[in-house]
């Protein structure tokens, strides 16, 4: 695979894209699990889904059973969802934990901070301790986690740089958006399932080259020349527009805007893929996050959540405008499904060599490929 990776690392004019195997081969997918998803900070879920202390939600993260819970300090914690006794799954569905996490098998109980609190009958009936048994060493296995822009990021390997460093460049770029944002519930949440490797969803998201063809509706107000590439060698890439115009309701009112934004954001909006699997968009009045969940090599679930700048825009009086905004984004993302799935099918063409890039338009995709290749070569 070394030579394949070398072709990816060439300057864009000479480069080829990632070879087919990266999209179709189970072995590569398995390797990618460790090198790309476990070794870095990957998106797992959304903090809004566990809003209250004791709220817990299970996840299957590339086959790894995990759950997230909000602890007594109000912090999100992520644990392996496996009991330290016989390995039973602890949390099977979204649940509110009132006191302790009780394993459904032999009822060992864990506190929200992971401590093993009680082990009923472990020393025989009615005897809850045993001299040869040390509870204190049997807490839940915790996975490193960090919440940013409501996304719960995890680093399974435990040895990635601190999140603040990992995300330093993208945070720097979007510093002005480091402020509260508000989710309005079900009308601001939807998901799509695509028969494609997750990387094709990233690649399609971060380029604007396809806009005039795949999203002709956007053409009327957002022309190709109004878009710019964002490539900074900072674990992200994407595109921006110079002509964002907010959605208006019947009386010509728009959503409220984030405070203190510089003039640039009057008209600009940006869309960044934050590697590996989270796609973000920011506008002066709302933002969104898309989590890409790989379910095998050739299937991906996209979870889309929209957030508003002003808390009062999450109320019922704005429900109609929010519905229209969600609908607009759903249409755009649905328009992308056939190309993402089509590229997946195309990658079963044995003669495809990863493809040639437009030296001008494909920078963000090339950057992503370089990053992926780097994860496999330790670069």
């Amino acid at each position: 695979m070394q030579t394949d990776v070398e072709q990816v690392l060439q300057p864009i004019e000479a480069a080829r894209g990632l070879p087919n195997a990266y999209y179709t081969d189970g072995d590569v997918h398995e390797a990618e699990k460790r090198s790309v998803f476990f070794a870095n900070w990957a998106g797992l879920g959304f903090a809004k889904d566990i809003a209250n202390v004791g709220d817990a939600k299970p996840y299957e993260f590339l086959g790894l059973p995990l759950f997230a819970v909000r602890d007594h300090d109000g912090e999100v914690r992520v644990y392996q969802n496996t009991c330290r006794h016989r390995g039973m799954i602890l949390i099977a569905e979204e649940i509110h934990i009132k006191g302790a996490i009780r394993c459904p098998y032999h009822s060992w109980c864990y506190a929200l901070d992971g401590e093993l609190k009680a082990t009923p009958h472990v020393g025989g009936p009615g005897q809850n301790s045993h001299p040869g048994f040390d509870r204190s060493k049997l807490g839940l296995h915790e996975v490193r986690s960090h919440v940013w822009r409501d996304v719960i990021f995890i680093n399974v390997s435990g040895d990635a740089p601190a999140f603040e460093d990992y995300a330093a460049d993208i945070k720097q770029r979007w510093q002005e958006f480091e402020q509260p944002q508000f989710h309005a519930g079900a009308d601001s949440s939807f998901s799509l399932e695509v028969r494609s490797n997750w990387k094709l969803a990233v690649e399609n998201y971060c380029e604007s080259y396809h806009l005039p063809w795949v999203h002709p509706g956007l053409n009327s107000y957002s022309r190709l020349e109004d878009h710019y590439n964002i490539v900074e060698d900072g674990r992200f890439s994407g595109q921006g527009t110079l002509v964002y115009s907010p959605m208006l309701d019947d009386s010509g009112e728009s959503f409220g805007t984030f405070g203190g934004l510089s003039e640039k954001w009057d008209k600009a909006a940006e869309y960044l893929a934050f590697y590996p699997n989270v796609l973000f968009g920011v506008h002066r009045d709302h933002s969104f996050a898309i989590l890409l969940e790989p379910h095998g090599v050739e299937r991906t679930v996209e979870r889309i959540e929209l957030y508003y700048a002003r808390e009062d825009d999450t109320g019922p009086q704005r429900a109609e405008l929010r519905r229209r905004n969600s609908e607009l984004w759903r249409e755009v993302f649905e328009e992308d499904v056939f190309v993402v799935e089509g590229m997946q099918r195309g990658r079963h063409g044995m003669l495809y060599d990863g493809g040639a890039f437009s030296p001008v338009m494909d920078g963000p995709t090339h950057e992503f490929h370089r990053w992926i290749a780097g994860q496999f070569t330790g670069g």
């Binding site: 006191g99 302790a100 009780r102 109980c109 609190k117 009680a118 009923p120 009615g126 005897q127």
Partner: protein, 65 residues
């Protein structure tokens, strides 16, 4: 007690187990009492009921934790 298991109400169940423990203590059956106390304690812990503490203390007094 089986009925309470069936309705899946941990708080009710916990109280019933504690009652059973009391009765076993009255008939000097410490083993049985500690079994029931354990059941009551675990359920109270799960439900976050404050009286889990007093159940824990009872078990500790018996050297069962």
């Amino acid at each position: 007690m089986l009925a309470a298991h069936a309705v899946d109400d941990g708080a009710v169940l916990s109280v019933l187990y504690e009652r059973a423990a009391d009765l076993s203590e009255l008939s000097d059956d410490t083993e049985r009492a500690c079994f029931y106390l354990t059941q009551a304690y675990i359920l109270a812990l799960e439900m976050g009921l404050p009286y889990a503490d007093s159940l824990e203390k009872r078990l500790r007094r018996q050297g069962r934790i």
